[in-house]
Symmetry: D2
Subunit: 342 residues, 4 copies
């Protein structure tokens, strides 16, 4: 039985705690820490059989019974806590993104070096039943050599403008999942990114220096062309589709719905719109990613998404930001050179 500590008891921390306690054999949450720990959360933790619900995550890092931590705290603490946890000898599962700052991700990488510890970054979408089956079909050669990947990713509604301002921008906050999908489905890293964008949803997003709508074209290193279309608002719900076209065919996935009732009447045929809420849509994926993290600890094999998989999408987001600003295609190599220079 692997003892787990969870750092951060917000929405996603609670999701992971519930997953481990009810769906992940061979692991249990021993402690959960949050600076805003309150009575309600303590009771919830007790109800799930979690021994300790505390304020200070250092208690988790110091507990020799705890082998692994899930970092579910605010984004700006992901990389420093990652480093502390690694130094404390814990396996780490870290919510995405590791950091918006490439240098800090590199510190995590160098801290990990030479240690026999597992590190996994929380790009949950790879563990979704549809996306995972799509990638498997491609990997199994069902479409031949991949040539075009298309990803539709539209949020049901925009975040608050306060969040937008600290989010790192749409490419770093929202498209980052799609950048991960581009790598996952094409089987390659990116070479060049081009963005055509708009502010359609809310002018205050534009005033904050961000965009809310974009078409992103990416050339991957293996020659696959990827196109992502994003919007911060979709009237019909959370729109999460993808398609991989190759030399022998095409594989695609549609949205999930709450039920499959179809009603035909004198006007038309009506059916359910896509699920609205990302937690509803990806609940099983959140459980699956943690399960695979635990499996990697037990088997000694690599986690499915290592720290490099946390770095690459950040580079793609930076290239997208620069392309959007300068209105031209931008190579990842150029971003790396920019970083060197700084």
């Amino acid at each position: 039985m692997t003892n787990i500590g969870i750092i951060g008891a917000g929405r996603i921390g609670k999701v992971h705690a519930t997953s481990v306690q009810t769906k992940v054999p061979g692991a249990k949450v021993k402690a959960i820490a949050d600076p805003f720990m309150n009575e309600e959360t303590k009771e919830w933790a007790q109800g799930l059989g979690i021994e300790k619900a505390i304020k200070d995550y250092h208690e988790i890092l110091e507990d020799p019974d705890i082998e692994a931590v899930l970092i579910c705290s605010s984004t700006d603490t992901h990389s420093p806590i990652s480093i502390e946890a690694i130094q404390a000898g814990k396996h780490v599962f870290c919510e995405k993104p590791i950091d918006h700052d490439v240098e800090k991700i590199k510190e995590v990488i160098s801290t990990l070096e030479g240690k026999e510890l597992k590190y996994q970054v929380g790009f949950n979408r790879r563990f979704d039943h549809n996306f995972a089956a799509l990638e498997k079909a491609v990997r199994d050669g069902k479409v031949g050599t991949p040539e075009i990947v298309k990803i539709t990713s539209r949020d049901p509604e925009p975040p608050s403008i306060d969040y937008v301002k600290v989010s790192g921008g749409m490419f770093m906050d929202m498209t980052i999942h799609d950048f991960d999908m581009a790598r996952f489905l094409s089987g390659s890293d990116a070479e060049e990114v081009y963005v055509q964008s708009a502010v359609n949803v809310d002018p205050s997003i534009g005033e904050a220096g961000d965009v809310d709508t974009a078409i992103i074209t990416i050339k991957m290193k293996n020659g696959v062309l990827v196109v992502i279309d994003n919007c911060r608002r979709a009237a019909y719900g959370y729109d999460q589709r993808a398609e991989v076209f190759g030399s022998d065919g095409v594989a695609l996935i549609e949205n999930d719905t709450a039920n499959n009732v179809q009603i035909a009447g004198s006007e038309d045929v009506r059916s359910s719109k896509p699920l609205f809420f990302f937690l509803e849509r990806y609940m099983d994926a959140y459980a699956e990613e943690v399960k695979q993290f635990i499996d990697a600890i037990h088997s000694g094999e690599d986690t499915p998404l290592g720290v490099k998989d946390g770095l690459e999408p950040v580079l793609m987001a930076m290239a997208a930001q620069k392309s959007n600003k300068e209105h031209r295609p931008v190579k990842i190599a150029e971003i790396l050179a920019d970083i060197e220079k700084d």
Copy 2:
């Protein structure tokens, strides 16, 4: 080039004339006859390149250049004109049903005996792209041994009560197509029929001694169980679906629609309802059945639907009528014995 005469210039006669002139290579309509032939129809015929548009179909039967006739006149004339046409040495394509009276169908059969003439009955649905592909899938073994056939057949709206009164009843007029489908999809003749019915659409249909809604269960001679559900009205259009379940799987067909637009909004996803009008739904099937009739004349092979295929559904309709009246399963053998007795 096979010269065709068409007897009857009503809706279906015109459909067949247009098909032959524009879609059936190797045949052309030389003459069309209708007791109510008028100027408008004459002009229409001329526009299609039909030489003669006349009142008396005997001119067609007497024309030695005409090899084949399509009988599209009123139902009560189908069997007598069939007999005249056969005696005049013409190949015959006869709209369904040949007759409501089994004795008259048998007269057509005996008139045909010993003659080198083709006879085809117009069960158009066998030539529909969906039904034909479904039957082919079954025949090719895609579902293993067939065990259950399900046929949904609902008209968009009931005929006039005047028509209902002369129609021979729902089983003879509407279900007759489904009885043909039962034979087509099961690959067998019927052994026993059971009906559970209702009058839901219009009480005057009940007052006329007919029903407008029914579940019909049929045991075929090869053991396949068939269930047909009928209604004389469907708010959403012409509902024509089927399913064949077998030892290795199931094959099914859905309705056709005018287009495949899907619109997802804040309420639901909307798409087109099924096509409403039978001519719209089966236009290509009407052309295909005539094309295969002409092909049979040219090749010398049997037509895809001989005169026996016109008889069997009538026997099934009679069994359905008796089952409905006596509220018990009725065997086809019992119907045949009844006919013998009369």
Copy 3:
């Protein structure tokens, strides 16, 4: 917090225990009893935070802290334990069927009389996301007045012949769920049942006096016609579809699949077959039915499925058995008269 006792720690008992502990707020399992209780199950119970894992269910009935029991033991014990539990003052959730013997169900009914206790029978399908949404659409008038209900229910593979022999026969064991659906979707009790059946899957099922394939036509008291098609084997998985046709339209549900990947290649387009295993298909429904049972205890309102809802499908199964044997339609009234006579 409502304390629950679970009687029976087999497959379904474990499913319900997990549901209560992780998905049903306001309730927790205090004890689980099973005559074959072993170390492995004890550990599993402990992991879920269940205090007591015991052999004798009487400990549960005698525990004043336990307000409600879930009866998940073998079918033959459902009615006697129901009676004991009611007499001990517990609310009862009882797995289907309450009993194959109508007299025993009536004993449960009379034991309940005058008591302020909740009783729910476990027809889980009513709580499935698709079936529940279909019924809601009908109840909300989306199809007008219901006229035809069609239910397809095919198991992926037949049970062992040993199970078949003690199962009460296909109608009592498998179709019983569909009889419940007939009542649920039509909004009425049954009046008359007609069966046309076959033995296609395994001759030894026939030798055991049972059937494995059937078309069942039911006339409901409100005039709705229901048709159920059953098979004990479907090569493509667990086939669970339904359709309600009414004066204003039709509503229907399809099967659920593991994912919605579509792969188009040079031959055809391929997608996932239906889920194979009933627990996978109905896992959420099992949680939802228990949740609603707990809700009824808390709110004081009726459970969604009372003891009468356990009785009616048994009467329908008996009518089906008699129809199948005597090859004629059989009224429920006739079954009730038979019972009176005995």
Copy 4:
């Protein structure tokens, strides 16, 4: 009755001739001209009731009974014959593209000026049942304000390399239809085009200086972002889909198939791939565009696709060519300036 002359008796000329004769009331083909006119084509014309099948199209232009011509000759003759026909006082339906050379299109425009003649360019896709219904949904406000248009357009197989060399390149030959769709579905002209391309299908296409795969991003003047993905080869057939996303929802269209049979077996569910051949896919659209051309002549209203609609997609193709060559976004204004300069 409007007399039509058809110039060019190749594949598309024959399609239009058949459409007019059988599906367009109020018009008939009086003559068809082709420099390679032969006996076989003459017989075919006679069978359709076309009076004259000749070699020299000038006979058509000189025939005072002929009011309108359909120009179906080779691409390089489209603009000169358009001009001759306009000068001869004929209404003109011209197959796409009018010309690859903008100057020549402008000559057609200036020749038309001040004349009461109809001119229509043959972008057939606008008349397809799916694309037309999609555009209507958008125009009717079903998705609110359009923001993103996505067009998938993949040919089943590449043309011969000989054709590729004279085709004007993929953007001018194939994407030109998609550029028209971009304008049709967005309701706007284009402002800027960016291309990311590849040669995946056949290296000899690359050697000929062309590409066979591309992602094309377009910003329209009204702010709508359009993305087109093209490939000269799709193993599963002719892939023609589109999607319009807007402030209130999304509308999309799928491919058409030969039939809708679904076969579920022990492996998966199989259904028909998209139609393979463009004539099969768009046969009805070819008839509808000519019908609307004739309707415009009769009503005096504008044709649905005037000569400007022939010009704009050529400008977009030129911008795509330049973007592809210089690997940067290119504005239509820049292309117009280039033309001015020349």
